[in-house]
Subunit: 156 residues, 4 copies
DNA sequence: TTTT
DNA sequence: TTTT
């Protein structure tokens, strides 16, 4: 039963975040992330190989992504693999794999922090590490606890 | 261009390895790995959530997997996400995601190492860490050589 | 400012946990973990190389460790590197590095769960993943949030 | 015996690399890497906590570090923990922990690749991932060969 | 001693 | 579809 399911990615966004506001105050952001490897083939030519990843962020993380990330942004991501399975119109089993983001960090320093300081509350550094908080935000009354969403049972 | 694409899994095999011997001495093994998380839902009930991963191993690794792994084996895996994309019969874009294994380690000590000591050459411990070696070995001669199989340009 | 400091270990305990109960309900456990690599030297002889790690766990994690881990236990650990620096008697700068554990998972299934079922509440599997909760436990009123202690500002 | 000893760091260099050329064509580079976490304390004030890591790179990696890294460079690192233990003048046991780098990637795109294209041979991208190659190259001929430098038995 |  |  012991299980570890961990993904570490570092790459660039292929497009601006797609953010959806759902009922009940929930927010989800979908990102397309490219990770590119370079290697030399047997003839000594450099070859780039790009893998595209579908990332999913929920709650406060989604909002931070909406606010600060855009096409081209470089980020470091920790998450886990999550698959959806369903039957398509032809009755065939289908599977789609995405990365549920647990935390991410903006790199590259090309931040364009909004001009509204309110927006940046508690986030003076654009490259702070954003741990996921469940959404709706739990009323943690403890000191400064960082939450992550790795094990919650919210419906996402 | 900087890219990191890393997966760390720890779980159990849902079936024996499926191994195919290809032309040119190539071997590929496919594994189904389950990683299970346990958490309590809002009612305090324990819930298990299992994610199934398709693993792909090549060359010597595939042979080691064939030899030592079986349904139920517990392993620790490092690898990377690799997707195949194609068009199906209906002309729809399809995508299948799997984990290309870079290294793995057998856990649990329930090894049943073959009775033939030759088989265990260099592997007195069942839980040795098996780093991937490209197969057939690339004719690496320069200093730029990739020393694991993460970046090779072999056709897999 | 972007920072990642992550350690992943899988190994066995060299001794039973050392647990200290501090004032204010705090608990700390210290573990000695061995990670062993096997490789062949240039003569083809198998060589084992063991690295010893000093792990530190706080709060509920420390109690779980006290309860379920013992000399020889095999665990998977995620944590971060933390160093203490000080001056010794001779006025020399000294540094000691340890691993602050964020989460751990018991492996090997050799659990000897206590006979008191209360103790195992919510932990029917010995190999559940134990995320750290800050100590003293925050009064999280949210649903089932998993906390980790990676970013707290408690004095440890 | 199963062992995993893995470190993932992302941070900035506190100083230029220190490179030593040893007898027998060996090269070693030492780096000081800072990883900084930001969090809010219980009063809502942002606090930065910096951990300093001693990195050690060998062979070709050391040369690449010497050539392209400098004080302030942002890098992503994978490696493992390695400790030296010895007795000091007072006969006391001492231990020093460092990170043996397995691979690293330059981030931030502030590369100042030398103007000599020869220098960049096989490395048109400053942020290529540098996997360690043992130096001098081991005469790998069998299938059990370690394909990165994590498990070699070279004298470093 | 870094970085934002 | 990203990035250098």
């Amino acid at each position: 039963m012991a299980g570890v399911n961990k993904v570490i990615l570092l790459g660039n966004l292929g497009a601006d975040p797609e953010v959806k506001y759902l009922e009940g105050d929930n927010v989800v952001a979908n990102l397309r992330l490219a990770t590119t490897e370079s290697y030399k083939d047997r003839n000594g030519n450099r070859v780039d190989q790009t893998e595209w990843h579908d990332l999913e962020l929920w709650g406060p993380q989604a909002k931070i992504a909406e606010q600060y990330l855009k096409k081209g942004s470089q980020i470091y991501v920790e998450g886990k693999i999550k698959s959806d399975t369903w039957q398509d119109d032809q009755g065939q089993n289908r599977k789609r794999t995405k990365i549920r983001v647990i935390s991410f960090t903006m790199l590259g320093g090309k931040s364009e922090m909004g001009s509204n300081p309110q927006e940046n509350a508690g986030m003076s550094q654009p490259s702070t590490n954003y741990k996921a908080a469940a959404s709706p935000a739990p009323s943690t009354s403890g000191p400064d606890i960082q939450m992550d969403d790795s094990d919650d049972d919210l419906p996402f």
